[in-house]
Structure formats: structure tokens, C-alpha cells
């Protein structure tokens, strides 16, 4: 019977902890969420020796055990809860040779909890180049632990690290700092009141309550011996603890670490001079954004077309070779296109995260935050919000996922809420066809095409609305956590290929299996509503149409188109479209547009296809649909249905309305509740309705 131990991987951000995790576990890692919160949980089970397995948990990066964010809180909650099923038998603290001093703060805190704690010093391959020498034996003695030099980049030192994990019971549990040195009298009284508890753990429970400002927890109560201190006194003691720990660390490193300062290169300064230059910094950032945008927009069309065609082919195949009936229809017209509608997003997601993980890995993302923080802060967002906002111009789904890189929950939430306002590529087919109908194809001052100007205005409108609503949301939202802006500016590094690939795979998987379920369910429901009808008219569609037309003058295709059009009109969704017509009339639409708006909830571009079906034009050819649309008559006002007024109203409706179930599904996944996607759905669509109403009433 082989034994399994729990290993927790903890470390500061930017120490390469994730690469260490990747090297230890390979691709058999599982990514999920901690229950109730949206912090990513990465874990894997590996074999250490013939009869020893290890469950390895990659905890969120943190600078200390004084948590100020939900992510950091996960670490301390685990370490304070012996009953947790993931409570570690041994902790591996990952640190970086160049920032060892700062990394040791967290190490000493964890060590003092009385856990076997191994110190893994990463990036050891840089020691020679940076002129760093370390006396490992003395360091082990001073820290009372096992120290391993590793290099995730060169994949070195991992066998030794695994051996240290196997031998974890040999590690001394002696603390680095006696908790009582922080404040002798206070800690003595605390120990007297709770003689059976670990003193440092008690202290962490106390500081935790203070850091989070929560009152609903079980505070450690006062007893005859123990008198609690005020929050501000506790904060001062935490500062004192930090200073005491640094004194210990400085003394330890003075004996064990030497650094040849002459070898410190000016590479950082040279690259910084360019990348955060007050002019060139922005030029370069814009160029990078442009490249990302082009890639998502342009390059992904090839794989997307391929996916589209493959699923169409698969549908046809099922239709041909399965016995006809409801099951075959459900598979070929409901499930396969539904799955296709999920897979179609994979190229965009993969490309976006390819770039984002490279930007993160190289250290450039922190520079973006530095450059953009001042501007974005005005709108309640972070410097990092720029990337989601811009990639939202291709598709809101990867953009919402990209908001994960924003540390502050409030700024992240604001970003997620407003990203769907940016003009995504699915709006483009709708915009193009309506613009070509209602905006004259003429030039202003003989130079600028009015249609082009309109399209550009719509893009600016999307971005402007996103920013304006960001400002509004940040004023309205109240968030528990007070977050501070202290951003590390890491060294520039070449990205590690393996990490980039893992990130791309993981993000894609989390979309397909997380949000995919919801998208598939809604698309099947929409398909059922559009393919079945409650009345005799629907069931007898073929006969009704055949008897009403002159069969001799019609081709088979034309007849087919007529029948589909008739069926859609009498389907559940068709009746729904007609039922809501009174609501859309003041906006200048008829029930046909109403149906198209309902069906385009699956994806905005479906609008065009639905109109094609209703008008029974029998093909998706844009010119044919356009001429049919131009001939439509407004049922109430008379005259053409698509006028400047109704066209502008429709453009504005599509600019603002939350017409995308996939976005709602991913927001549900990323925020962990239906609250926010529902606010988006009703808030954005309500706003769209009002704006479209006003514009039509003014312009008509």
C-alpha cells in the first residue's frame, strides 16, 4: 500500500513558482477553483518513489502571511486549518536567488508555524552570471531546514528537491524567530490564556481578523490573563514583526551570501529607458496591442473558418447517415452546431493567452501597469485593464478571461462588467449590413466615406461607453477589501516556452469545459424554440406553403426557403417575436427584426442569418439579403422599414445590448455567481432599449 503526502508549493509572485510546479508535475495537473471564490486552484498527484505519492498544491503567490487579497487569504486559511484535507505535511517555499532576502520573509513565517518547510531557491542558473555565491550548508544551519538549489528554466535540481520532500520528516521544526520577541508581555499573556495553542498561529488568527476588518469571525476573546489590543496597536506589532524578521534575515544573509556588484548588468535600466519612456513607451505599447488585436482578429479567421466548415460537414454527415427523425435533428441541428459554437472561440482564446502569457513572463506587464495606471484609475480600472478592453474588440470572451491578471478584485470586476461594451467582431456583420442600408455611400469633403466614418464612430462609442460605465461602476460598487497599489517591477526575462504552452492549454480547457456547458445548453434551447411550433400552422407548414404558391414556377430551393421561413414564423420563437412586437415598434422595428434579435442571443452575427431565413432568400449572400431588406415596409408608419432613424436605432441597440449568451456564461464562470451576468443582461439591454427608443423618436 503506497502512502500519499500533501505538499504545498508557496512563494512570492515572480519567483517562477508556476514553472517549478509545471516541472514537478507535467501535464497531469488539474485546475479548478476554491469553493465559493474564483481563485484558481492548481493541483496534481505525482509519484515520488516506489511507495510514496505526493499531492502537490500550487498556492497563489503571496509576499507574506499577512493577507490583503482573496488570493493571499487562501494560503493562510489553509495553513491555519489542520482539518483541511489539503493541509500540508510539508511545505516547499519557492524563492528566487536574486530576491532571496525578500523571499525569506515568507519562508520564516511559514517555518515558524511549526511545519516542515523546504527552501527551494530557483533561478540558480543565474548565479554565475550575477556573481552570486551562497554558503548552502551554513544557510541550512541558520534556517534549520533543507535548502535546494533548482533551475526551472534548465530543469535542474528537481531530483534533489523530490528527495528532500521524501525525507521531510528529518527536517527540524525549530522556528526562526520566537513569536514572543515581537511584544514580550502581550505574547506571554496570550500563551497563558491559551496554553495548548501554538503561539504564532494564535497571532496569525488575530492579525488576520485585523487585516480583513471582519467582525463576524470568532475573535480571540479576552480572559482574565489576556487583554486584546486595538486594531491600530496590532498593525504596529505587525510592522514590528516584519522589521524583526528582516533583522534576522539580514544577519543570516550577511554570513551566507556574497554578491559581486561589478557583475550587476545595466540591462534592466537600458530596456526600461525605452519601454517606459513617456513617448516611446506608449508607442511601443500601442504597437504591441495592435499586433495582438490583428492576430486575434485576422489570424484566427483561418482556424475559425476551418472549425465552422468541419462542424457543418459533421452535421451534414449525421443528417445523411442517421435514420431521419427527432434524434437525428437534435444531433445534427442542435448539438453539433452548439458544440461548434463553443469550439469556434478556441483560436481567439489561444492566441490572446499566447500573447498575454508572453507579456507576463517577460516582465513587460508590470511596465504596462506602470504606464497606464494613472489613466485607467480614473475609470475605476487598473493599468492591466487595457489588455482586456482592447482584446474585447475581437471577442469579449477571451477578454473577460484576461481580466484574471488583475490583482484587485474590484478593478477586475469593473473590467469584466464593462468589457462587453467594446465592439466585438460578432457585431461587425450586423453593423455592415445596416450601415450599407441606411448610411449613404458618399464622401464627406470628397475624402471620407460616410459609411466608414459611421463604423469608426461605433467602435469609439463602444470604447467610450465601456470607460464611462467603468467610472460609474467603480462609484457604485462596494468591496470588502482595501487594496493597495504596490507593484513589483520584475527583471526582464525570456519567456519559458513550457509555461506559455501550459497557460494556453489551461485557459482553453477552462473555457471549453467551464463556460461551454452553459453555452451548449442555451444553444440547444434556442434551437428547440426555433425548430418547433405550438400550432397546426407549424405542423402543416409544407402543405400550407405548397398550396399557396404556384409550384410550376418555383425551383426546389425556393420552395425549401419558403417553407423554412413559414416554419420559423410559426415556431415558438416566431410567436415570441410577434408577441413582443409592440415593445419594438417604438424603436422602429417590426416583428421580423424582433425574431432576429431573439435568435441572435446565441451570437450577434446570427441576426443576419435569421433575417435571411425569415425573408426566405434561401442564401446568406449579403447582396440578396440587403435588397430584400431595402424593400421591407414599416407595418405601422408605412414607407421603408429601414430608414436612417430605424437603422441608427438598430445600430445603437446592437452597440449596447448584452446580446451574447457565451459572454454571460464566461462572466458567470469568472465571477462565480449569476448576479453579475444578470446585471449585465438587464442593465445593458435596458440601456440599449432606452437609447434606441430615444434615437428613433428624435430622428423619425
Amino acid at each position: 500500500m503506497s502512502k500519499q503526502i500533501n505538499v504545498a508549493l508557496i512563494g512570492n509572485p515572480n519567483t517562477g513558482k508556476t514553472s517549478v510546479f509545471n516541472n514537478l508535475t507535467g501535464l497531469n495537473q488539474q485546475v479548478g477553483n476554491y469553493p465559493g471564490i474564483t481563485v484558481e486552484k492548481k493541483e496534481a498527484i505525482i509519484k515520488l518513489s516506489r511507495n510514496l505519492k505526493a499531492h502537490i498544491l500550487d498556492l497563489p503567490g503571496t509576499y507574506s502571511l499577512n493577507a490583503t487579497s482573496i488570493d493571499e487569504n487562501v494560503v493562510i486559511e489553509l495553513l491555519l486549518n489542520k482539518k483541511d484535507k489539503d493541509y500540508p505535511d510539508v511545505v516547499v517555499v519557492v524563492s528566487d536567488i536574486e530576491n532571496l532576502k525578500r523571499n525569506l520573509l515568507l519562508f520564516t513565517q511559514i517555518k515558524d508555524l511549526g511545519l516542515p518547510t523546504i527552501l527551494a531557491i530557483n533561478m540558480a542558473d543565474r548565479m554565475d552570471r550575477k556573481g552570486i555565491q551562497l554558503d548552502i550548508d551554513l544557510l541550512e544551519e541558520r534556517l534549520h531546514t533543507k535548502v535546494n538549489l533548482i533551475s526551472a528554466r534548465k530543469n535542474k535540481g528537481f531530483d534533489e528537491l523530490k528527495q528532500s520532500i521524501i525525507d521531510y520528516q528529518k527536517i527540524s521544526l525549530e522556528p526562526c524567530l520566537e513569536a514572543s520577541v515581537i511584544d514580550k508581555a502581550y505574547f506571554e499573556s496570550l500563551q497563558k490564556a491559551y496554553p495548548n495553542q501554538d503561539l504564532y498561529k494564535l497571532w496569525l488568527v488575530i492579525t488576520q481578523d485585523v487585516n480583513f476588518g471582519k467582525t463576524n469571525r470568532n475573535r480571540i476573546p479576552a480572559t482574565s490573563e489576556f487583554k486584546p489590543k486595538s486594531d491600530s496597536e496590532i498593525k504596529r506589532l505587525q510592522q514590528k514583526e516584519t522589521i524583526k524578521r528582516y533583522q534576522f534575515i539580514n544577519a543570516t544573509l550577511k554570513e551566507t551570501l556574497t554578491k559581486d556588484l561589478a557583475l550587476a548588468t545595466g540591462l534592466r535600466a537600458k530596456i526600461d529607458r525605452l519601454l517606459i519612456h513617456k513617448v516611446w513607451g506608449y508607442v511601443i505599447f500601442l504597437a504591441i496591442l495592435f499586433l495582438i488585436f490583428q492576430t486575434i482578429y485576422d489570424w484566427s479567421t483561418y482556424p475559425m473558418d476551418f472549425i465552422d466548415e468541419s462542424f457543418l460537414y459533421l452535421s451534414e454527415f449525421v443528417k445523411q447517415y442517421f435514420p431521419p427523425g427527432m434524434l437525428s435533428d437534435l444531433i445534427s441541428e442542435g448539438i453539433i452546431p452548439g458544440v461548434g459554437g463553443i469550439v469556434i472561440f478556441v483560436p481567439q482564446i489561444a492566441f490572446l493567452f499566447l500573447f498575454i502569457s508572453i507579456l507576463e513572463e517577460t516582465g513587460y506587464m508590470s511596465r504596462v501597469v506602470f504606464l497606464m495606471d494613472r489613466i485607467m484609475r480614473k475609470f475605476g480600472m487598473s493599468g492591466k485593464s487595457v489588455v482586456p478592453l482592447v482584446s474585447g474588440t475581437a471577442c469579449a470572451i477571451p477578454a473577460v478571461m484576461a481580466a484574471r491578471n488583475i490583482e484587485s478584485w474590484k478593478e477586475r470586476l469593473v473590467t469584466i462588467l464593462v468589457v462587453p461594451f467594446t465592439t466585438c467582431s460578432a457585431r461587425l456583420p450586423v453593423y455592415l449590413i445596416i450601415i450599407s442600408l441606411v448610411i449613404p455611400d458618399e464622401r464627406w469633403l470628397g475624402l471620407f466615406n460616410y459609411q466608414g466614418i459611421t463604423l469608426m464612430l461605433l467602435y469609439l462609442l463602444g470604447f467610450g461607453t465601456a470607460v464611462a460605465f467603468g467610472w460609474l461602476a467603480s462609484k457604485l460598487l462596494e468591496v470588502d477589501f482595501k487594496t493597495y497599489f504596490v507593484v513589483e517591477m520584475p527583471d526582464y526575462k525570456l519567456p519559458i516556452f513550457k509555461n506559455v504552452v501550459y497557460t494556453v492549454i489551461e485557459k482553453t480547457k477552462s473555457f471549453v469545459f467551464g463556460a461551454g456547458k452553459i453555452i451548449l445548453a442555451i444553444s440547444i434551447i434556442l434551437w428547440v424554440l426555433a425548430s418547433y411550433g405550438p400550432t397546426e400552422e407549424f405542423r402543416n407548414a409544407e402543405e400550407v406553403v405548397k398550396s399557396s404558391v404556384d409550384l410550376s414556377t418555383m425551383t426546389e430551393d425556393e420552395l425549401e426557403a419558403k417553407i423554412s421561413s413559414y416554419k420559423l414564423k410559426h415556431s415558438f420563437i416566431g410567436y415570441a417575436g410577434r408577441a413582443i412586437e409592440p415593445a419594438f415598434t417604438p424603436l422602429g422595428y417590426d416583428w421580423k427584426i424582433g425574431i432576429a434579435i431573439l435568435t441572435s442571443f446565441a451570437a450577434r452575427e446570427v441576426f443576419v442569418g435569421t433575417l435571411a431565413t425569415i425573408y426566405s432568400v434561401g442564401s446568406d449572400d449579403e447582396q440578396t439579403i440587403k435588397s430584400r431588406m431595402a424593400g421591407e415596409v414599416n407595418p405601422i408608419l408605412g414607407g421603408p422599414l429601414f430608414t436612417f432613424a430605424s437603422g441608427v436605432s438598430l445600430l445603437l441597440f446592437y452597440a449596447f445590448a448584452m446580446q451574447c449568451m457565451s459572454t454571460l456564461a464566461i462572466v458567470r464562470k469568472e465571477t462565480g455567481t449569476w448576479k453579475w451576468p444578470l446585471i449585465q443582461l438587464f442593465g445593458m439591454s435596458g440601456f440599449a432599449y432606452v437609447v434606441a427608443l430615444i434615437s428613433f423618436q428624435i430622428l423619425k
Binding site: Y63, R102, T242, R268, D272, V486
Partner: protein
């Protein structure tokens, strides 16, 4: 005595008392402690945030935080 907010680009100083309760603990944890040397590397456009080098730890903080940290200038000239 002055604060980090008043440093000029390239100026170095020694961190003095950090008494304000508004100073985030995180800053101390990253090595911003009394007695350590701080250098202002760069100020972002629109005068915020600041890019600092504190004992070889590179970080950026906002002006509002920088105003809270007292420093003593090192005379280079």
C-alpha cells in the same frame, strides 16, 4: 526630512520613520524599511505612479503612498 514624493529622478535617500498607519504592510514586506536606501528611478507620465529601487527590490507605488514615507536625502554632490 522630506518624503519619497518629493524625490527627483535619480535621487537617493534613506528611509526614515514609517509611522503612518496608512502605509500598507505590503510595502514593508517588500523591503521598504527604516534605514534602507531608496532611489527614484522613474516617474510615470502624468506624475504617477513612481518607480523605486529599494535595496535592489524594484517596485512601483502611487503618489498617495509615497507622500507618507519620510526620507533623508543622501548628498551625492
Amino acid at each position: 526630512m522630506t518624503t519619497i514624493a518629493n524625490l527627483k529622478k535619480g535621487q537617493k535617500a534613506i528611509i526614515g520613520e514609517m509611522n503612518s498607519r496608512e502605509i500598507p504592510l505590503k510595502l514593508l514586506e517588500m523591503g521598504c524599511l527604516p534605514g534602507n536606501q531608496v532611489e527614484l528611478i522613474q516617474i510615470a507620465p502624468f506624475k504617477d505612479p513612481l518607480y523605486l529601487n529599494i535595496n535592489e527590490t524594484f517596485l512601483s507605488i502611487r503618489m498617495e503612498t509615497a507622500r507618507l514615507i519620510q526620507v533623508e536625502l543622501i548628498d551625492d554632490e
